[in-house]
Amino acid sequence: MSKKLRVNPIDCAGHGVCAELLPELITLDEWGYPLLPAGPVPHRLERQARRAVTDCPALALALADAS
């Protein structure tokens, strides 16, 4: 089951850790908030994506089933 990255924009404070840990998928907009890919996370990057989710200081990032 493929996964998608989702962010809770209320909890997100723009720390930017996610973009540092997963630059292949996440970039920051001009205000420091994450721009997430629309599609599912490639399998080879799933481990890094999980790390980004765990390391988000605001616990704002999540990996959800891509349905």
């Binding site: 909890d11 404070a13 723009g14 720390h15 930017g16 850790v17 540092e20 840990l21 999980r50 989710v53 765990t54 390391d55 200081p57 616990l59």
Partner: protein
Amino acid sequence: MTAITGTTALWYASRATGVVSLLLLSLVVMLGILVNRQGRLPGLPSFAVTGLHRSLSLLSVLFIAVHVATAIIDPFVSIGLAAVVIPFVSAYQPFWLGLGAVALDLIAALILTSLARAHISRRLWRGIHWLAYAAWPVALVHGIGSSPDLRSGGLLLVAIGSALAVAAAGLWRVAAKAREVPRAERAAYVLAGIQRQAHRVRVGHGGAR
């Protein structure tokens, strides 16, 4: 001068790892505050701050484990396993060691919830994490009260230094939070900034082209 026997070695080990634990915990709290305020360490990315905060907290667990283990094993004083987690039941120095048990319980809660943070609710994790501000002073008082080490000489300076550093970081956090633009005023604040800028541009152009 007494010869350094096996038990003395254990006792010294407990005291030494105790001091190191306190130092590490002080660094962990200060780094935690830095993470919260989105501060950076010079030349390092944000994930280094979060990573260091986590690594040092796990390292402190290690030192606390040795600190506690050596204290239990040492036969010179009777500190049972129960006294490690249940406060104030130790035969030896029940109060000061009890504080150590309290600190240990709090730190255990912090560590366990943080290891599982991707799997528990954000509210639960944050709620428990606030206990860090209780755990650190309890650990400090435990250290000062349990043995005379921190009350004189170089280690006294270490204790005072750590206390001042953590207190300063705490005060900085409170001040920064107070200076923060309240949520309800954020958009107005951004808009005001833009209007100030636009005014400068208009004034700079000085009218007709």
